[in-house]
Amino acid sequence: MESNREVFETYNKDVYRTCYYMVHDAADAEDLCQEVFITVFRSNWQSIDYLKTWIMKITVNACLNHLKRRRSLQHKLADNLHLFQGRGMAKSVEGLIEQKETSQEWVVHLSRLPVKIRAVLTLRYMHDFSLAEVSEALSIPLGTTKSRLHKGLKLMKNVLLEAGMPEEAWKGEPYEATGRCTQASIK
């Protein structure tokens, strides 16, 4: 691979998808995706042997940092409280969060898991990382990776069942449905 543009075209979808599943917000994912590529281009990426593994490591860590630092939407909006006074804002904000949960995609299910577990599942199953690669990318011991992966699968199973998705729905073959599942919103 020779140019920045080539790297961008090759990995933009992988990076964006990772960000989207990690942060569960399209706008934030877009910003993060851009940030990741800027970081990549400011590094000496030509000297990296396993480019995809390295880019995914940057991506997941950018997402983890973002989630750490993210002030909740409530607070963002509350910053501008004086502009919106008298419009029942607290309720509105709760509503935004609840509304989002009506989404039908797996991104919702994944977002129910703790972020550290989400990171492990994303690298393992979206990008087919080996356990050792996951450990390296997240700077955690191999044993921790294994236990997070195990815990993640257990939690995921519960989340799917809780969301009213029977086991047959994700077990069955062939699998035509594209990330659709019924998900009760919180009214």
Partner: protein, 555 residues
């Protein structure tokens, strides 16, 4: 587990489940950022053509900061915070008792001075009071400190961080406070308080020639502050309410973070008061910014009422680092602090919600409530919370404390009013009011026949309440409105046409809230084909505004 692993592999790589952004546009942004950074690298002769840059930005990069470090000092501070702390009574009470830690550090950049005045630190939270001197100030100016956060704390998650400023006309400065759930693990801790930038914004508006009588989607170009256009659809809901559904498309997705567009209606110079229930900022499928405004239908006269889009414009930004090194101490608060492990149910027989802990500090009383139920049950079914403390009633704050790391734990916060004495023997009772119950048992379908553009209504019994179902086609989409005249019916959360994997799912048009007293909901089924439909509910709620629970917490 193998199957689940396979399903994850398929799902997480399923391209159709995801809407990708415009990568070409993103590439343009990246190239631009790259050329900016190359140019900024001092001393390096750049081959990249220079674009005109504002001198104020360059000045900000090289301006010097003044930083004065300070050790904890306790002092009587005579500073008038006006009504800044009106929702933080406990902080005001602590200040009145001289329980604040004097900070007195300032940073000045480009003529703007941020001064940290006082810290209040206890077992529940850290609050830092500050002032902002901006020099010349116009009435339309709104300055704010952006991205305030604590660094160097061992906790990696910054829950409940928030800052807010208010203009103090008398003293010609802004007063502000920063609040965080972080507290020192020991008596004292060294931390760094930073802010990303200090911004100046003004409120702007643009006329929208909207026809409120037409239920069609109406599109208006904006072309300002990174906003491309707004689509507005007026919908009359339940005869008396006009719902404006807005969707702003951005040319510059970064502007979404601060533009906060909203629609305002004016009769002459009077702004039409908005009904509660409106929302803003909900992200659309393609990154749009969605708005919902509810107005009283009889206050809107087509042809006479004027509509405006109002939004923020960023006039100036003074970038950081605005960074202060602080040593904070909670020592002074310790004598007035009681931590009590409780583990009592929210009401007798409730195994899902347990009051786990109570933390009483000189500024606040917090209850932690743990939820152990499954998704079909209600997390904290009582929607209004009070504490009876020695005969006085405290009402809980606006928000529940909620942690993404431990989503099953919420904290309810009660500000401590001045003069309220609490010790281990003070009687404290928790009172929960307004119970909302979720019902999932009704799995019978509702059959909608002869679906057409004409609005048709049928009445179906839901849990003993008569519920009206109104359905009609609008364009290619089927709209289903539900609601009941009985206020004890809480509303249907969402509908579907079968609930199985591939069955159509209703998309809620309205954003409803439990305990809001509104049981009306609208679901839309996009691109609906056919004239009949069997519609199922996920769940409905019932409201019991008068139901009350009382839990004695001490003695």
């Amino acid at each position: 587990m193998k199957q689940l692993e396979d399903a994850l592999k398929r799902q997480l790589n399923e391209d159709q489940a995801i809407t990708y952004p415009d990568f070409d546009e993103m590439w343009t942004h990246i190239e631009q950022a790259e050329s900016d950074s190359s140019w900024l690298q001092a001393g390096r002769a750049s081959a990249i053509p220079r674009r005109p840059r504002s001198w104020s930005k360059i000045a900000a990069v090289v301006s010097l900061s003044v930083l004065v470090a300070a050790a904890p000092v306790y002092a009587a501070i005579h500073y008038d915070w006006g009504n800044l702390l009106r929702s933080n009574e406990g902080i005001q009470a602590a200040l009145d008792q001289n329980l604040g830690q004097h900070l007195g550090q300032s940073i000045t950049k480009d003529g703007v001075t941020l001064t940290l005045q006082t810290a209040i630190v206890d077992e529940n939270r850290t609050v830092i009071l500050y002032s902002l001197d901006v020099g010349k100030h116009r009435e339309t100016d709104f300055w704010n400190v952006k991205g305030m956060t604590l660094k160097g704390t061992n906790s990696s998650y910054k829950e409940g961080e928030y800052n807010y400023e208010q203009w103090d006309e008398e003293n010609q400065r802004y007063n502000g406070y920063f609040e965080s759930d972080w507290t020192p693990g020991q008596d004292t801790a060294k931390i760094i308080l930073t802010a990303d930038a200090i911004d100046l914004k003004t409120v702007q508006s643009k006329e929208l020639p909207l026809n409120p009588a037409s239920p069609e989607v109406q599109s208006f170009n904006i072309g300002r502050e990174g906003m491309r256009k707004i689509d507005v659809q007026p919908l009359v809901q339940n005869k008396d309410k006009l719902l404006l559904l807005g969707e702003v498309t951005f040319d510059d997705p970064l502007a979404k973070a601060w533009v906060y567009p909203q629609i305002a209606a004016y009769n002459g110079t009077t702004m039409v008061k908005e009904l509660p229930g409106g929302t803003f900022g909900e992200p659309g499928d393609h990154g749009e910014y969605k708005l919902k405004h509810f107005l009283k239908a009889d206050e809107i006269t087509p042809g006479q009422t004027r509509f405006k889009l109002q939004y923020w414009k960023q006039e100036r930004s003074i970038p950081g680092p605005w960074s202060f090194e602080l040593e904070l101490s909670k020592k002074q608060m310790e004598s007035g602090t009681i931590i009590k492990k409780l583990d009592v149910p929210v009401e007798p027989g409730d195994t899902s919600n347990t009051i786990e802990k109570m933390v009483i500090t000189p500024t606040q009383i917090r209850l932690s409530i743990r939820y152990k139920g499954n998704g079909a049950q209600e997390q904290m079914p009582y929607k209004k919370s009070f504490l009876l403390v020695d005969g006085r009633t405290l009402k809980s704050g606006f928000y529940y404390g909620y942690s993404t790391e431990d989503p099953n734990l919420i904290t309810i916060r009660f500000e401590r009013p001045a003069g309220l004495l609490v010790d281990e023997g003070t009687p404290i009772t928790f009172v929960g009011k307004y119970k909302v119950t979720i019902h999932t048992e009704d799995k019978a379908p509702t059959l909608l026949k002869n679906i057409s553009t004409e609005k048709q209504t049928l009445i179906r019994d839901v849990g003993g309440y008569p519920v009206e179902w109104t359905y009609y086609m609008q364009g290619k989409d089927l709209y289903i409105e539900t609601g009941s005249d009985d206020p004890h019916f809480g509303g249907i959360n969402q509908t579907n046409m079968g609930g199985k994997y591939n069955d159509p799912l209703g998309k809620p048009v309205t954003t409803n809230f439990r305990e809001d007293g509104n049981n009306k909901a609208i679901d839309v089924y996009k691109n609906f084909k056919g004239t009949e439909a069997s519609v199922y509910m996920y769940f409905y709620t019932t409201d019991d505004p008068d139901k009350e629970t009382r839990v004695q917490l001490q003695p």
